[in-house]
Amino acid sequence: MKLAVLVLEGPYNHEASDSAYNFIQAALEKGHEIRGIFFYHDGVYNVTKLMEPPQDDRHIANRWSELGAKGIDIVVCIAAAKRRGIVDDVLVPNVRISGLGQLTMMAIEADRLVTFGD
């Protein structure tokens, strides 16, 4: 199945980001295709390289970046990002900023769009 994932909450503060990540890992292991991952609302904070969590904790931004390195399209909404001070310069590698049109295309092209948020 072709899946798209929408993440609406920021890292650490909510479990949504972890749940989305775990869901994607499980889906990939089952052989599903991830059409794309889209960050909206406070979700845009998931992929800033400015985060520096304690070393014995998971590094959420690096985790997303690793998924991006596998070729999964990871998109941060530009409107939501600008409002929150997230710009190209602070993004981890393998992630891009673009518009809500990208979410629309993911929604239309994927068999299922799965939302993680509150």
């Binding site: 609302h41 629309t104 239309i108």
Partner: protein, 133 residues
């Protein structure tokens, strides 16, 4: 081509103010309406407050976005539904609903369509996507 057009439903379940969810959700609706998709929006739970006429956010010190709901029909989003039970639970009636646009021919004001809760499930079953903003 007509059968290729994907049906996308939005649900609005949170109060319009106090968080940014509903406002940013509105931005998604406006963008998606520009694409070849069959958009519908259902307001339920505290989301029905977003459709209350006469909102004034001046004292909250925020911009407010209720005026944009007033031109939803112009954005070609005319399938706007509101759950009757959610309204009644919150002391709202059809008279409290804002206008979402006007009929092109008659210039009559268009209001959201009030529906019963048990109509929502079958509508959801027809959708390609359901987005919860």
């Amino acid at each position: 081509m007509a059968e290729d057009i994907k049906k996308i439903m939005f649900t609005v379940r949170k109060a319009p103010h106090g968080s940014i969810y509903v406002y940013e959700g509105l931005e998604v609706k406006l963008i998606m309406a520009a694409y070849d998709a069959d958009i519908s929006v259902v307001f339920m739970d505290d989301g029905v407050f977003a459709l209350k006429d006469g909102q004034n956010t001046a004292e909250l010190g925020i911009k407010g976005f209720a005026a944009t709901y007033g031109v939803m029909v112009d954005y070609e989003i005319s399938k706007i539904y509101v759950d009757r039970k959610s309204m009644e639970d919150r002391g709202m009636t059809e008279n409290d609903l804002l206008v979402i646009g006007e009929d092109e021919d008659t210039e009559e004001p268009i209001k959201p369509t009030v529906i019963e809760t048990d109509q929502i499930g079958p509508m959801m079953a027809e959708q390609h996507n359901i987005l919860c903003f």
